[in-house]
């Protein structure tokens, strides 16, 4: 057994109401260390032969909750949620903070694999090796914050009953879904802890399709044994010191972005990306800080950065709205993207989105899309069930969000996500509305535009990424260079938080991994081995796609057309991405990644990486 791993994975079959322990070979764990990489491998091994026919919202889909070997050791615990994505029809490794991964590893498991579909709503309570699949009738249909409260109460009561001599139980770590997930909205999230969410990929809908309301876990054991504990202690101290020396990050987290990404770098979505610049001082970070952040430092287990804040509106129309941060993505997508420019409105929207269990990015994107169609007269008041989503009308957007979560009326259409909604609207209205859909292969683009060239986003970052519009998984040339996606794959596979790694030496995380597992993985080796293998598998599954949508790399490996329109305002006025240059870079990227001119992985590449089964499945795409 490899050091750093608990040794077993929990597989829950909801159809049969059973569970069992599964183990993977050491070589597999060595190659695909955990999290996103392991998820891609498990999914391709089990499902690749019928991937194209597999509906992500059917019982056959597999839902994975995987921490990595560094979870619990590297400061800031995270977990990776994966499966066949209902948004891109590929595999997205969606990570979320919280103690779930740490508790799970303390309970003796390296991950949870959920298959099948329950007959009626259930939730799973894990206490060390005691796994209990329980009826969730009383929490099904409740919003996220209420679910959290009810689950805490029920789990603590059950644990106290079963283990009366333990003492007072603290709250268990949880992942759960809200109404949006239950109604299988493709923009639904898996919520963790309180208002943390794994958004990209839409796994809330997968969880809802399995009628799995929540998983709660409490571990009382130690974390797995490691190779070099003294070294790990030293390295944890180094991460902590590095974070303490970064007061800006600790003070504001990403909450400063709502103003500065617009005013300084011109890369924030404003009114569905019609502009990327604003200079509204009412949306400055000081307004968030001095008006609504009632708790300035809040963090998950062991995290020195404390980038989370608690925002609470105490007066006025939105009194009582409470959420975390909101972080930059939610500030952007639920603020300027909808024409809202005050912290109170933004906190209200973020709080509502959290309650409904929707993804702020995807929902903000699709609502911005609907509002632009309304602005251009393509969608009318009648089409939108009497709602008039004018820019800045917070009530209209709130009712639209509720409709999306419950799939009522027009919400049923918008809950399909921006791309699918655009296809349907184009069909019924007979107009080309895809130009207003700011997405990449089914996933709405993160709030970092590429037009100004001042942000960290790169021109092929969204086009060539195997996670499509995911801003945390961007890629760049060269494939083993500092901007490449393989390093993001490592972050999501070891499952560490990006934010705690800023400013550390490049090799640091790999040294940390070696100290935990006792293996010798060099940074360069990852770019040629595990990282590249994961990219190939994710790419193959993305191209196989299906059943409702398939991607043609010649058309879809591209930025949304809006990114080629010049910016209309701000200091970067007139700047735009260059279509010919992007196409050229995309072709270059294909070459470097070992893909043919159509973007399909080459047989030689796959065989060199020992991915024969992927090669066999891709044969029909090559022709």
């Amino acid at each position: 057994m490899t050091l750093g791993y608990a040794g077993k994975f929990l597989e829950i079959d909801l159809s049969r109401d059973t569970h069992k322990d599964v183990r993977f070979k050491d070589e597999l764990l060595k190659d695909y260390i955990g999290g996103r990489a392991l998820a891609a491998k498990i999914l391709s091994d089990r499902l690749i032969s019928r991937w194209e026919k597999l509906d992500p919202l059917s019982p056959e889909n597999i839902l994975l909750f995987l921490p990595g070997p560094l979870t619990g050791f590297f400061p800031g615990g995270r977990i990776c949620v994966s499966g066949k994505s209902p948004q891109s029809n590929g595999v997205v490794g969606s990570t979320v903070g919280g103690e779930f991964g740490v508790e799970l590893r303390c309970a003796g498991y390296d991950g949870v694999i959920v298959t099948g579909q329950a007959e009626k709503p259930v939730y799973v309570l894990i206490k060390d090796s005691d796994v209990d699949i329980r009826d969730a009738g009383n929490i099904w249909g409740k919003d996220c914050k209420e679910t959290n409260t009810l689950l805490n109460r029920e789990c603590r009561r059950l644990l106290a009953q079963r283990y009366p001599r333990y003492g007072e139980w603290k709250e268990p770590a949880k992942v759960y879904i809200g109404p949006a997930g239950e109604n299988k909205a493709r923009t639904a999230v898996v919520t963790a802890k309180w208002t943390h969410a794994a958004g990209y990929g839409g796994y809330g809908a997968v969880m809802g399709s399995k009628k799995l309301k929540a998983i709660a876990v409490k571990g009382t054991g130690p974390l797995p044994e490691v190779a070099d504990l003294r070294k790990i202690r030293r390295m944890i101290n180094a991460v902590d010191r590095n974070a303490y020396d970064n007061p800006l990050w600790r003070r504001w987290g990403t909450g400063g972005g709502g103003y500065s990404f617009a005013a300084k770098t011109s890369s924030e979505p404003v009114r569905n990306w019609q502009e990327e610049w604003h200079d509204e001082k009412s949306y400055g970070v000081d307004q968030f800080e001095s008006r609504i952040w009632v708790k300035q430092a809040w963090s998950d287990f062991g995290c020195p950065t404390n980038c989370l804040k608690i925002a609470h509106v105490k007066t006025g129309k939105f009194k009582g709205a409470i959420t975390d941060n909101p972080d930059y993505e939610l500030q952007a997508y639920l603020g300027p993207n909808l024409g809202l420019f005050t912290p109170e409105e933004d906190v209200f929207m973020a709080s509502l989105i959290d309650d409904l269990g929707l993804c702020g990015i995807q929902t903000g994107n699709v609502m911005g899309f609907a509002a632009e169609l309304f602005q251009r007269g393509i969608l009318t008041k009648e089409d939108l069930d009497g709602i008039e989503p004018k820019w800045g009308d917070v009530d209209a957007f709130a009712s639209l969000a509720r409709k999306i979560a419950f799939r009522e009326g027009v919400g049923d259409l918008l809950a399909e996500g921006t791309y699918r909604a655009a296809l349907k609207i184009a069909e019924t209205k007979g107009k080309d509305v895809l130009q207003y859909a700011i997405q990449s292969k089914g996933i709405g683009i993160g709030a970092h535009g590429i037009r100004s060239g001042r942000d960290f986003s790169t021109e092929i970052g969204y086009a060539c990424s195997v996670q499509c519009g995911d801003h945390t998984s961007m890629t760049d040339l060269p494939i083993d260079g500092p901007g490449s996606e393989v390093w993001e794959v490592f972050n999501d596979s070891a499952v560490v938080c990006n934010f705690n790694g800023f400013g550390l030496p490049r090799n640091f995380k790999f040294d940390f991994y070696n100290a935990v597992t006792g293996l010798e993985l060099a940074r360069e080796e990852w770019a040629r081995g595990g990282g590249l293998k994961t990219l190939q598998i994710q790419r193959a599954l993305l191209l196989l796609g299906g059943p409702d949508l398939k991607w043609n790399p010649r058309v879809h490996d591209d930025n949304p057309s809006r990114f080629y329109e010049p910016l209309p305002s701000g200091p970067c006025k007139g700047k735009a991405a260059d279509h010919a240059a992007v196409k050229k870079s995309v072709r270059k990227y294909y070459e470097e990644a070992g893909w043919d001119e159509n973007g399909v992985p080459n047989p030689e590449t796959l065989n060199r990486l020992e991915l024969g089964n992927v090669d066999a499945a891709l044969r029909k795409l090559r022709k």
Binding site: P247, L248, R251, W252, G256, Y259, S260, A263, K264, K281, G284, V285, D286, Q287, S290, R291, I292, W293, V294, K314, T315, K319
Partner: protein, 130 residues
């Protein structure tokens, strides 16, 4: 004190574009290269008050006895207020490095700043005072 019991400091935020320096008709204001604080040349300053008008937060104020303006000069890079706060272990004041965040956002008028902070502290009760 605009709200009883809530006394908020109101200091120079070192805006990136320094509107006060630009507004000075006698060039009495300059920017320190070392600390980026605004320095006042007491001999040149005539106390005309144009910098107060130019400042988005109306932060410069007149010296109580002399006819000149006073602006925080960050104590030549070693702010004494931060020093005593840290010595007293309140850990409220800290020096930060200047990075991409726009500091001029913090240049707000005393009324605005008090309204924001007092509402956060006292909720609706604060609205009675402001």
């Amino acid at each position: 004190m605009l709200v009883p019991g809530a006394d908020f400091p109101h200091l120079c935020a070192q805006c990136e574009d320094y509107p006060c320096v630009k507004a000075c008709p006698v060039k009495a204001l300059s920017v320190s290269k070392k600390t980026s604080a605004v320095l006042v040349n007491a001999e040149k300053c005539t106390g005309c008050g144009k910098c107060i008008e130019a400042c988005p937060g109306r932060i410069p104020h007149m010296h109580p006895a002399q006819n000149r303006i006073v602006i925080c000069d960050l104590c030549n890079g070693n702010p004494q207020c931060v020093k005593v706060c840290q010595e007293g272990e309140w850990n409220v004041l800290k020096t930060v490095t200047r990075r991409e965040h726009p500091y001029e956002l913090y240049a707000r008028t005393p009324e605005e700043q008090t309204r924001n902070l007092a509402t956060k502290l006292y909720g609706e009760k604060a609205e009675e005072f402001i």
